[in-house]
């Protein structure tokens, strides 16, 4: 069904390991991950699953130990720090859990910031930033400092900032993690609306309820990636391996487990 669409992100055989003294700690194992243009994908996994590492590699903040990563037609795995910065600037819009706005700048200046690094003329960057702040519903709060804004408003500023360079993907890391239920839901609505308008969004989350609002869920567990179908075959709803359950000897044991879950 995606054949007609453009492949915007393609990871093949990505491994990532960190040196730990003399040993190596492998965090990602043979990750294959593809995202097509205009998709809204959720990467769902508990803490320690390697989802942060995966996000850093997707976001070009880090490079894989091995494997190939092609983003918007460009091979990322061989780029230097300087070139990675340019890719982040042009192709990726970050939305962080704790907003990451600069406190001593106005909302407008925060949105303008990526355009300074993109060397856009001062007049044009102001126009673009104002347009986006209007779009996220903060047209009247442009000159406010982040401290004068609510959490939801701050996250809207961050989303405007993420979109201002018109990146290939928007990469959101637990975007509702620091917000209450209602505000979180509004932010999710904003993401869905942006997606309908053609934005490609990758959202990292540990919350299945949030993940379910995306078009497609990819699971990550212990550094390995599974599609929804693969995941359902291997794991039950609680994220426990079915094989292990089958290994359990008695019906009584299963009943006890079921009861304790209630």
């Amino acid at each position: 069904m995606f054949n007609s669409r453009k492949l915007i992100l393609s990871m093949k055989g990505i491994n990532k390991s960190y040196p730990m003294g003399e040993d190596e700690l492998q965090v990602l194992f043979d990750v294959n991950f593809e995202v097509y243009q205009k998709e809204f994908v959720a990467v769902l996994g508990p803490s320690g699953s390697g989802k942060s590492t995966l996000m850093n590699i997707i976001g070009c903040l880090d490079t894989a130990t091995s494997g190939s990563y092609i983003l918007n037609g460009q091979d990322i795995s061989k780029l230097k720090d300087k070139e990675l910065a340019t890719v982040r600037n042009h192709d990726i819009g970050f939305v962080f859990q704790n907003f990451q706005l600069l406190g001593r700048m106005s909302a407008l200046d925060n949105v303008i910031l990526p355009l300074i690094y993109a060397r856009v003329s001062s007049k044009e960057r102001k126009n673009r930033a104002m347009m986006l702040l209007n779009k996220v519903g903060l047209g009247d709060k442009m000159q406010n400092n982040p401290k004068q804004l609510s959490g939801g408003q701050q996250q809207r500023v961050a989303i405007a900032r993420a979109m201002v360079t018109n990146p290939s993907i928007i990469l959101a890391d637990e975007p509702t993690g620091a917000l209450d239920q209602a505000t979180g839901a509004q932010i999710m609505e904003l993401f869905k609306e942006l997606n309908r308008e053609g934005k490609t969004i990758i959202m990292i989350t540990h919350d299945p309820k949030i993940a379910r609002q995306a078009q497609r869920i990819v699971h990550i567990l212990d550094g390995r990636i599974y599609s929804q179908e693969e995941y359902e075959i291997l794991y039950n709803e609680e994220g426990v391996k079915r094989e292990e359950i089958q290994e359990e000897p008695t019906i009584r044991e299963r009943r006890r487990r079921r009861l304790s879950n209630v």
């Binding site: 720090d81 910065a85 340019t86 990451q100 600069l102 060397r119 001062s122």
Partner: protein, 398 residues
């Protein structure tokens, strides 16, 4: 983009006004002391050189230091120095305290009785006026070659003795008795300033007259005038040889170039200036360390911001430049204020000490250049630290 970076740097520095000011203060103190010391030093040195130049850098003084070896030079012996290439003339001086008398009717001094006193009499030739008085004279004329040749009885009054004896009256053409001989007053000298001011209270007569008629003895010391002081070394050594020939010994005389005195003075003032400059440089160094310290704190405080900027596409070089610019802004600001303050101090000092205040544009350029350098040197370490920060770790920092 550079304009934006400068704007951002100013904003950051204004966020912590107190801290920025205190850091700038370190540079202000350093640059102020350097500017004040250089300016005061230059002023004092040039004043000293001005005074010393009264001695004349192109003079070589030849002196008999041991009269047992030789009593003094004769005319012919002195004139033989003129054969040395580069020597324009010789200026002998004989000095002796002698009695002089002013007789009313012969001269109209402010003593209206026969006044007898003693003062220094100097026997010189025309070169004396050229060397000591820059060839200028207040009134009348100086002693000429003809006076020397004929050993005429003429006399030039030193400025001080003229004032003392005559007030403002011009006695030219009148007669003064020296050693009971009549001398016609032909000129009055200007007041001498500098180091050689002996002429102010002297009666100045042709040296030939002084030797023959006033019995002031042989010439023990005379100056040779050298036309080109760049050949000084060669001329001096030739003079030394000639002197040894005349004296018949390598001891008992000295050939001494006035330029040496000036060189020594300049060397000493340069040395003192250098030492003071060194101390001022230490102040600047401490100021620079202050900048580094502040910038390091700033980098630590702003770790998250740096991480975010990197995530948004700032290259390591962009971050490096941003922090360097902040360091340079502080140091240049300190430099400019320091120049103003230093110049003000030097100006006040010039009034207090009494030398001419001069201020050179090169000093300003030097100071600003210096402070930019300090900013770059002490800013590079914190800036590199910021540029090298890993964005993942930096974003995680709280």
């Amino acid at each position: 983009m550079f304009k934006d970076i400068i704007k951002m740097s100013f904003k950051n520095l204004l966020m912590n006004k107190m801290r920025t000011f205190l850091t700038t203060l370190g540079i202000i103190i350093g640059i102020t002391s350097i500017i004040a010391l250089i300016t005061i030093g230059q002023g004092v040195t040039s004043s000293v050189i001005d005074q010393l130049s009264g001695l004349g850098g192109n003079r070589v003084t030849i002196e008999i230091t041991n009269t047992q070896v030789k009593k003094g030079f004769t005319d012919a012996e002195m004139e033989s120095f003129l054969e040395i290439e580069g020597v324009d003339g010789v200026s002998p001086t004989v000095r002796k305290n002698l009695v002089y008398t002013l007789v009313p009717g012969e001269t109209n001094s402010n003593r209206n009785y026969v006044y007898t006193s003693a003062t220094r009499v100097m026997g010189v030739n025309n070169y004396y006026f050229e060397l000591v008085a820059n060839d200028t004279i207040k009134a009348g004329r100086s002693i000429t070659d003809a006076d020397i040749k004929n050993a005429t009885h003429v006399c030039v009054l030193g400025h001080g003795i003229w004032k003392n004896l005559y007030g403002n009256y011009n006695p030219i053409g009148e007669t003064i008795k020296i050693y009971n001989m009549d001398f016609t007053i032909v000129g009055i000298m200007n007041e001498l300033v500098g180091l050689d001011t002996a002429g102010n209270y002297s009666l100045i007569v042709p040296y030939t007259t002084a030797m023959r008629d006033l019995q002031m003895g042989l010439v023990k010391t005379f100056d040779a005038v050298v036309s080109d002081s760049s050949d000084m070394g060669i001329v001096v050594s030739q003079m030394d040889d000639r002197c040894a020939e005349i004296v018949g010994s390598t001891k008992g005389y000295s050939v001494f170039n006035q330029q040496e005195v000036m060189d020594i003075v300049v060397t000493i003032t340069d040395l003192i200036l250098g030492m003071l400059g060194g101390i001022a440089a230490i102040a600047l160094l401490v100021g620079g360390i202050g900048i580094m310290n502040m910038m390091l704190v700033s980098v630590t405080e702003r770790t998250m911001e740096i991480g975010l900027r990197k995530a948004l596409g700032a290259k390591p070089s962009t971050i490096l430049i941003q922090f360097l610019v902040e360091a340079v802004i502080i140091s240049v600001l300190g430099g400019i204020l320091g120049v103003a303050l230093g110049a003000a101090i030097a100006y006040v000092a010039s009034i207090l000490i009494g030398y001419t205040f001069t201020f050179q544009a090169t000093t300003v350029l030097l100071a600003v250049g210096f402070s930019v350098t300090v900013g770059l040197i002490f800013g590079i370490l914190p800036a590199r630290k910021a540029a090298k920060l890993n964005p993942i770790d930096a974003l995680r920092a709280q």
